[in-house]
Symmetry: C2
Subunit: 203 residues, 2 copies
Protein backbone atom coordinates (compact mmCIF):
# COMPACT_ATOMS: atom_id res chain seq x y z
CA UNK A 1 0.00 0.00 0.00
CA UNK A 2 1.18 3.56 -0.68
CA UNK A 3 2.84 5.11 2.37
CA UNK A 4 0.43 8.04 2.76
CA UNK A 5 -2.57 5.71 2.38
CA UNK A 6 -1.21 3.61 5.25
CA UNK A 7 -0.71 6.73 7.40
CA UNK A 8 -4.16 8.15 6.71
CA UNK A 9 -6.01 4.84 7.15
CA UNK A 10 -4.40 4.09 10.48
CA UNK A 11 -6.61 4.63 13.50
CA UNK A 12 -6.99 2.86 16.82
CA UNK A 13 -9.13 -0.28 16.60
CA UNK A 14 -10.18 -1.93 19.83
CA UNK A 15 -12.69 -4.53 18.66
CA UNK A 16 -11.63 -7.57 16.68
CA UNK A 17 -13.19 -10.45 14.75
CA UNK A 18 -12.44 -14.00 15.80
CA UNK A 19 -10.33 -14.50 12.67
CA UNK A 20 -6.70 -15.54 12.49
CA UNK A 21 -3.73 -13.49 11.29
CA UNK A 22 -1.20 -15.27 9.07
CA UNK A 23 2.23 -15.96 10.49
CA UNK A 24 3.69 -14.27 7.39
CA UNK A 25 1.93 -11.03 8.32
CA UNK A 26 3.21 -11.29 11.89
CA UNK A 27 6.79 -11.78 10.74
CA UNK A 28 6.61 -8.86 8.30
CA UNK A 29 5.23 -6.62 11.05
CA UNK A 30 8.04 -7.65 13.43
CA UNK A 31 10.62 -7.08 10.71
CA UNK A 32 9.28 -3.57 10.17
CA UNK A 33 9.30 -2.98 13.94
CA UNK A 34 13.01 -3.65 14.23
CA UNK A 35 13.87 -1.11 11.52
CA UNK A 36 13.28 1.91 13.73
CA UNK A 37 16.12 4.23 14.73
CA UNK A 38 17.83 3.99 18.10
CA UNK A 39 20.10 6.43 19.89
CA UNK A 40 23.70 5.31 19.38
CA UNK A 41 22.22 2.31 17.53
CA UNK A 42 21.67 0.91 21.02
CA UNK A 43 18.78 -1.26 19.82
CA UNK A 44 17.34 -1.62 23.30
CA UNK A 45 13.79 -2.21 22.09
CA UNK A 46 12.51 -5.80 22.30
CA UNK A 47 9.19 -7.44 21.59
CA UNK A 48 7.07 -10.24 22.98
CA UNK A 49 4.63 -11.57 20.40
CA UNK A 50 1.72 -13.38 22.02
CA UNK A 51 -0.61 -15.67 20.11
CA UNK A 52 -1.37 -18.17 22.88
CA UNK A 53 -4.90 -17.36 24.15
CA UNK A 54 -4.03 -18.49 27.68
CA UNK A 55 -1.21 -15.98 27.84
CA UNK A 56 -3.28 -13.21 26.23
CA UNK A 57 -5.88 -13.64 28.96
CA UNK A 58 -3.26 -12.77 31.59
CA UNK A 59 -2.17 -9.49 30.03
CA UNK A 60 -5.16 -7.37 31.04
CA UNK A 61 -6.49 -6.56 34.49
CA UNK A 62 -8.96 -9.18 35.85
CA UNK A 63 -12.43 -9.28 34.17
CA UNK A 64 -14.20 -7.90 37.25
CA UNK A 65 -11.90 -4.86 37.23
CA UNK A 66 -12.43 -4.29 33.52
CA UNK A 67 -16.21 -4.63 34.02
CA UNK A 68 -16.31 -1.87 36.63
CA UNK A 69 -14.38 0.35 34.22
CA UNK A 70 -16.64 -0.45 31.26
CA UNK A 71 -13.61 -1.48 29.22
CA UNK A 72 -13.72 -4.20 26.60
CA UNK A 73 -10.86 -6.69 26.74
CA UNK A 74 -9.63 -6.20 23.19
CA UNK A 75 -6.22 -7.52 24.21
CA UNK A 76 -7.72 -10.94 24.92
CA UNK A 77 -9.95 -10.70 21.85
CA UNK A 78 -7.23 -9.99 19.28
CA UNK A 79 -5.49 -13.03 17.74
CA UNK A 80 -2.07 -11.40 18.04
CA UNK A 81 -0.65 -9.06 20.67
CA UNK A 82 2.81 -7.52 20.55
CA UNK A 83 4.30 -6.11 23.74
CA UNK A 84 6.90 -3.41 23.09
CA UNK A 85 9.55 -3.36 25.86
CA UNK A 86 12.77 -1.45 26.26
CA UNK A 87 15.89 -1.62 28.40
CA UNK A 88 17.19 1.71 29.71
CA UNK A 89 20.39 -0.04 30.79
CA UNK A 90 21.25 -1.00 27.20
CA UNK A 91 21.24 2.71 26.32
CA UNK A 92 23.20 3.80 29.37
CA UNK A 93 25.76 1.08 28.79
CA UNK A 94 26.10 1.99 25.09
CA UNK A 95 26.84 5.62 25.97
CA UNK A 96 29.61 4.55 28.32
CA UNK A 97 31.53 3.16 25.32
CA UNK A 98 34.55 5.13 24.11
CA UNK A 99 33.10 6.45 20.88
CA UNK A 100 30.27 8.09 22.81
CA UNK A 101 32.54 10.19 25.03
CA UNK A 102 31.81 13.22 22.83
CA UNK A 103 28.05 12.84 23.27
CA UNK A 104 28.44 12.42 27.02
CA UNK A 105 30.99 15.24 27.29
CA UNK A 106 31.42 14.80 31.02
CA UNK A 107 27.69 14.74 31.79
CA UNK A 108 26.41 12.33 34.42
CA UNK A 109 23.56 9.97 33.53
CA UNK A 110 20.83 12.29 34.85
CA UNK A 111 22.06 15.14 32.68
CA UNK A 112 22.88 13.02 29.62
CA UNK A 113 19.46 11.36 29.69
CA UNK A 114 17.36 14.44 30.41
CA UNK A 115 15.30 12.98 27.54
CA UNK A 116 15.08 9.20 28.16
CA UNK A 117 15.70 8.14 24.59
CA UNK A 118 14.71 4.54 25.20
CA UNK A 119 11.13 5.79 25.43
CA UNK A 120 11.49 7.80 22.22
CA UNK A 121 12.79 4.75 20.37
CA UNK A 122 10.07 2.50 21.82
CA UNK A 123 7.53 4.96 20.44
CA UNK A 124 9.15 4.78 17.02
CA UNK A 125 8.91 0.96 17.09
CA UNK A 126 5.26 1.20 18.19
CA UNK A 127 4.53 3.48 15.22
CA UNK A 128 6.13 1.02 12.79
CA UNK A 129 3.98 -1.82 14.14
CA UNK A 130 0.78 0.22 13.87
CA UNK A 131 1.57 1.20 10.28
CA UNK A 132 2.76 -2.25 9.21
CA UNK A 133 -0.49 -3.76 10.50
CA UNK A 134 -2.49 -1.45 8.23
CA UNK A 135 -0.25 -2.32 5.29
CA UNK A 136 -1.06 -5.99 5.96
CA UNK A 137 -4.78 -5.21 5.69
CA UNK A 138 -5.16 -5.54 9.44
CA UNK A 139 -6.03 -3.18 12.27
CA UNK A 140 -4.31 -2.46 15.53
CA UNK A 141 -5.02 -0.83 18.86
CA UNK A 142 -2.76 0.16 21.72
CA UNK A 143 -3.23 -0.46 25.42
CA UNK A 144 -0.49 1.66 26.94
CA UNK A 145 1.28 0.07 29.89
CA UNK A 146 1.71 3.28 31.85
CA UNK A 147 1.21 2.49 35.50
CA UNK A 148 3.68 0.68 37.72
CA UNK A 149 1.19 -2.15 38.34
CA UNK A 150 1.20 -2.86 34.60
CA UNK A 151 4.91 -3.62 34.81
CA UNK A 152 4.30 -6.20 37.52
CA UNK A 153 1.53 -7.79 35.45
CA UNK A 154 3.85 -8.15 32.41
CA UNK A 155 6.53 -9.69 34.62
CA UNK A 156 4.04 -12.23 36.00
CA UNK A 157 2.29 -13.03 32.72
CA UNK A 158 5.32 -13.16 30.43
CA UNK A 159 8.37 -13.58 32.61
CA UNK A 160 9.56 -10.14 31.51
CA UNK A 161 12.72 -9.40 33.50
CA UNK A 162 12.88 -6.23 35.59
CA UNK A 163 15.76 -5.04 33.39
CA UNK A 164 13.07 -4.10 30.84
CA UNK A 165 10.20 -1.64 30.87
CA UNK A 166 6.90 -2.64 29.27
CA UNK A 167 5.63 0.22 27.10
CA UNK A 168 2.61 -0.85 25.08
CA UNK A 169 0.47 -3.85 24.30
CA UNK A 170 -0.50 -3.67 20.64
CA UNK A 171 -3.49 -5.79 19.64
CA UNK A 172 -3.49 -6.81 15.98
CA UNK A 173 -6.26 -8.46 14.01
CA UNK A 174 -9.23 -7.94 11.73
CA UNK A 175 -11.45 -5.06 12.84
CA UNK A 176 -14.96 -6.01 13.97
CA UNK A 177 -17.93 -4.19 12.40
CA UNK A 178 -18.56 -2.31 15.65
CA UNK A 179 -14.95 -1.10 15.96
CA UNK A 180 -15.88 2.49 15.19
CA UNK A 181 -18.34 2.49 18.10
CA UNK A 182 -15.87 1.47 20.77
CA UNK A 183 -15.20 4.26 23.20
CA UNK A 184 -12.06 6.16 22.27
CA UNK A 185 -10.73 9.57 23.19
CA UNK A 186 -10.44 10.30 19.47
CA UNK A 187 -14.26 10.06 19.17
CA UNK A 188 -14.90 12.94 21.55
CA UNK A 189 -11.82 15.12 21.15
CA UNK A 190 -10.91 17.08 18.05
CA UNK A 191 -7.61 16.79 16.26
CA UNK A 192 -5.57 19.91 16.95
CA UNK A 193 -5.22 21.99 13.76
CA UNK A 194 -1.84 22.02 12.05
CA UNK A 195 -1.37 25.76 12.71
CA UNK A 196 -1.63 25.16 16.42
CA UNK A 197 1.00 22.42 16.62
CA UNK A 198 3.44 23.67 13.97
CA UNK A 199 5.60 26.69 14.65
CA UNK A 200 7.54 28.33 11.80
CA UNK A 201 11.20 29.23 12.37
CA UNK A 202 10.49 30.11 15.97
CA UNK A 203 7.91 29.25 18.59
Amino acid sequence: MEFYDVVSRRHMVRSFLDAPVSSESIERILNAARRGPSAGYSQGVEFVVITDPDVRSKLSPPPEVLATKGVRNFIEEAPVVVLVCVSAEIYKSRYREGDKARARDGADDDDLWFVPYWHTDAGAAMMLILLAAVDEGLSAGVAGVMRADGQARMQRALGMPDTHIAIALIAIGHAAADARNVRSSANTRKRRPLDEIVHRNRW
Copy 2:
Protein backbone atom coordinates in the same frame (compact mmCIF):
# COMPACT_ATOMS: atom_id res chain seq x y z
CA MET B 1 6.09 4.58 -2.55
CA GLU B 2 5.09 1.18 -1.12
CA PHE B 3 5.12 1.15 2.68
CA TYR B 4 7.72 -1.61 3.09
CA ASP B 5 10.00 0.08 0.52
CA VAL B 6 9.86 3.26 2.58
CA VAL B 7 10.69 1.32 5.76
CA SER B 8 13.58 -0.59 4.24
CA ARG B 9 15.10 2.42 2.45
CA ARG B 10 15.09 4.60 5.54
CA HIS B 11 18.46 5.10 7.19
CA MET B 12 20.10 8.00 8.97
CA VAL B 13 21.59 10.56 6.59
CA ARG B 14 23.81 13.24 8.06
CA SER B 15 25.28 14.91 4.97
CA PHE B 16 23.13 16.98 2.64
CA LEU B 17 23.37 18.69 -0.74
CA ASP B 18 22.84 22.41 -0.99
CA ALA B 19 19.51 21.84 -2.75
CA PRO B 20 16.09 23.07 -1.70
CA VAL B 21 13.11 21.02 -0.52
CA SER B 22 9.70 22.01 -1.87
CA SER B 23 7.21 23.54 0.52
CA GLU B 24 4.69 20.91 -0.63
CA SER B 25 7.00 18.16 0.60
CA ILE B 26 7.44 19.93 3.94
CA GLU B 27 3.69 20.28 4.43
CA ARG B 28 3.04 16.62 3.55
CA ILE B 29 5.71 15.54 6.02
CA LEU B 30 4.18 17.69 8.77
CA ASN B 31 0.73 16.36 7.98
CA ALA B 32 2.03 12.80 8.34
CA ALA B 33 3.75 13.76 11.61
CA ARG B 34 0.52 14.86 13.23
CA ARG B 35 -1.20 11.55 12.46
CA GLY B 36 0.60 9.64 15.17
CA PRO B 37 -1.25 8.19 18.15
CA SER B 38 -1.30 9.92 21.53
CA ALA B 39 -2.28 8.63 24.95
CA GLY B 40 -5.81 9.81 25.71
CA TYR B 41 -5.61 11.65 22.38
CA SER B 42 -3.71 14.26 24.36
CA GLN B 43 -1.88 15.47 21.25
CA GLY B 44 0.90 17.05 23.25
CA VAL B 45 3.48 16.76 20.46
CA GLU B 46 4.35 20.00 18.63
CA PHE B 47 6.84 20.88 15.93
CA VAL B 48 9.07 23.78 14.98
CA VAL B 49 9.95 23.72 11.28
CA ILE B 50 13.08 25.73 10.57
CA THR B 51 14.06 26.82 7.08
CA ASP B 52 15.73 30.14 7.97
CA PRO B 53 19.53 29.55 7.74
CA ASP B 54 20.21 32.07 10.50
CA VAL B 55 18.02 30.13 12.90
CA ARG B 56 19.41 26.76 11.77
CA SER B 57 22.90 27.98 12.63
CA LYS B 58 21.85 28.49 16.25
CA LEU B 59 20.50 24.98 16.80
CA SER B 60 23.82 23.15 17.11
CA PRO B 61 26.62 23.65 19.59
CA PRO B 62 29.16 26.36 18.54
CA PRO B 63 31.48 25.43 15.60
CA GLU B 64 34.57 25.24 17.83
CA VAL B 65 32.82 22.70 20.06
CA LEU B 66 31.71 20.62 17.08
CA ALA B 67 35.25 20.77 15.65
CA THR B 68 36.77 19.29 18.80
CA LYS B 69 34.21 16.49 18.62
CA GLY B 70 34.83 15.81 14.93
CA VAL B 71 31.11 16.22 14.24
CA ARG B 72 29.76 17.63 11.01
CA ASN B 73 27.03 20.26 11.40
CA PHE B 74 24.41 18.51 9.30
CA ILE B 75 21.70 20.46 11.10
CA GLU B 76 22.99 23.73 9.65
CA GLU B 77 23.64 22.05 6.29
CA ALA B 78 20.14 20.66 5.72
CA PRO B 79 17.62 23.00 4.08
CA VAL B 80 14.87 21.96 6.49
CA VAL B 81 14.99 21.02 10.15
CA VAL B 82 12.03 19.91 12.21
CA LEU B 83 12.27 20.03 15.98
CA VAL B 84 9.93 17.57 17.71
CA CYS B 85 8.81 18.88 21.12
CA VAL B 86 6.31 17.63 23.65
CA SER B 87 4.49 18.94 26.69
CA ALA B 88 4.24 16.55 29.64
CA GLU B 89 1.70 18.90 31.24
CA ILE B 90 -0.76 18.43 28.36
CA TYR B 91 -0.77 14.68 29.12
CA LYS B 92 -1.04 15.10 32.87
CA SER B 93 -3.85 17.59 32.48
CA ARG B 94 -5.72 15.34 30.02
CA TYR B 95 -5.63 12.44 32.49
CA ARG B 96 -7.15 14.62 35.20
CA GLU B 97 -10.33 14.88 33.10
CA GLY B 98 -13.38 12.91 34.26
CA ASP B 99 -13.40 10.26 31.53
CA LYS B 100 -9.85 9.25 32.48
CA ALA B 101 -10.68 8.46 36.12
CA ARG B 102 -10.72 4.75 35.24
CA ALA B 103 -7.20 4.92 33.76
CA ARG B 104 -5.92 6.83 36.76
CA ASP B 105 -7.78 4.60 39.25
CA GLY B 106 -6.54 6.54 42.25
CA ALA B 107 -2.89 6.53 41.19
CA ASP B 108 -0.81 9.65 41.76
CA ASP B 109 1.11 11.16 38.82
CA ASP B 110 4.34 9.30 39.60
CA ASP B 111 2.55 5.95 39.56
CA LEU B 112 0.25 6.75 36.62
CA TRP B 113 3.17 7.96 34.47
CA PHE B 114 5.64 5.22 35.33
CA VAL B 115 6.06 5.22 31.54
CA PRO B 116 6.17 8.88 30.45
CA TYR B 117 3.91 8.50 27.44
CA TRP B 118 4.71 11.94 26.05
CA HIS B 119 8.13 10.52 25.13
CA THR B 120 6.56 7.45 23.52
CA ASP B 121 4.29 9.63 21.40
CA ALA B 122 7.12 11.99 20.47
CA GLY B 123 9.02 8.95 19.19
CA ALA B 124 6.03 7.92 17.10
CA ALA B 125 5.90 11.40 15.54
CA MET B 126 9.64 11.27 14.88
CA MET B 127 9.19 7.93 13.09
CA LEU B 128 6.45 9.35 10.87
CA ILE B 129 8.69 12.28 9.86
CA LEU B 130 11.61 9.98 9.03
CA LEU B 131 9.39 7.75 6.90
CA ALA B 132 7.53 10.59 5.19
CA ALA B 133 10.84 12.17 4.17
CA VAL B 134 11.83 8.94 2.38
CA ASP B 135 8.45 8.78 0.68
CA GLU B 136 9.11 12.33 -0.60
CA GLY B 137 12.36 11.13 -2.17
CA LEU B 138 14.35 12.91 0.54
CA SER B 139 16.61 11.78 3.35
CA ALA B 140 16.61 12.59 7.03
CA GLY B 141 18.91 12.37 10.03
CA VAL B 142 18.26 12.81 13.72
CA ALA B 143 20.26 14.82 16.22
CA GLY B 144 18.72 13.75 19.50
CA VAL B 145 18.30 16.54 22.04
CA MET B 146 19.13 14.44 25.08
CA ARG B 147 21.12 16.56 27.46
CA ALA B 148 19.74 19.34 29.62
CA ASP B 149 21.94 21.92 27.88
CA GLY B 150 20.21 21.09 24.59
CA GLN B 151 16.92 22.24 26.13
CA ALA B 152 18.42 25.61 27.01
CA ARG B 153 19.79 25.96 23.46
CA MET B 154 16.34 25.31 21.93
CA GLN B 155 14.80 27.86 24.29
CA ARG B 156 17.36 30.47 23.27
CA ALA B 157 17.38 29.71 19.54
CA LEU B 158 13.66 29.22 19.01
CA GLY B 159 11.88 30.78 21.96
CA MET B 160 10.66 27.30 22.95
CA PRO B 161 8.81 27.74 26.27
CA ASP B 162 9.92 25.70 29.27
CA THR B 163 6.49 24.02 29.27
CA HIS B 164 7.83 21.89 26.41
CA ILE B 165 10.65 19.37 26.13
CA ALA B 166 12.77 19.32 22.97
CA ILE B 167 13.22 15.74 21.79
CA ALA B 168 14.89 15.60 18.41
CA LEU B 169 16.15 17.82 15.63
CA ILE B 170 15.39 16.10 12.34
CA ALA B 171 17.39 17.35 9.36
CA ILE B 172 15.67 16.82 6.01
CA GLY B 173 17.08 17.27 2.55
CA HIS B 174 18.75 15.58 -0.40
CA ALA B 175 21.52 13.19 0.64
CA ALA B 176 25.03 14.16 -0.41
CA ALA B 177 27.16 11.59 -2.25
CA ASP B 178 29.35 11.08 0.82
CA ALA B 179 26.41 10.48 3.16
CA ARG B 180 27.25 6.79 3.57
CA ASN B 181 30.74 7.70 4.79
CA VAL B 182 29.63 9.95 7.63
CA ARG B 183 30.41 8.42 10.98
CA SER B 184 27.37 6.64 12.40
CA SER B 185 26.92 4.03 15.09
CA ALA B 186 25.09 1.90 12.52
CA ASN B 187 28.32 1.62 10.50
CA THR B 188 30.23 -0.10 13.26
CA ARG B 189 27.54 -1.95 15.18
CA LYS B 190 25.54 -4.89 13.88
CA ARG B 191 21.77 -5.00 13.79
CA ARG B 192 20.58 -7.38 16.49
CA PRO B 193 19.05 -10.52 14.92
CA LEU B 194 15.27 -10.89 15.08
CA ASP B 195 15.53 -14.00 17.29
CA GLU B 196 17.35 -11.99 19.93
CA ILE B 197 14.84 -9.15 20.16
CA VAL B 198 11.60 -11.08 19.62
CA HIS B 199 10.28 -13.37 22.34
CA ARG B 200 7.44 -15.81 21.57
CA ASN B 201 4.53 -16.04 24.03
CA ARG B 202 6.85 -15.49 26.92
CA TRP B 203 10.23 -13.92 27.52
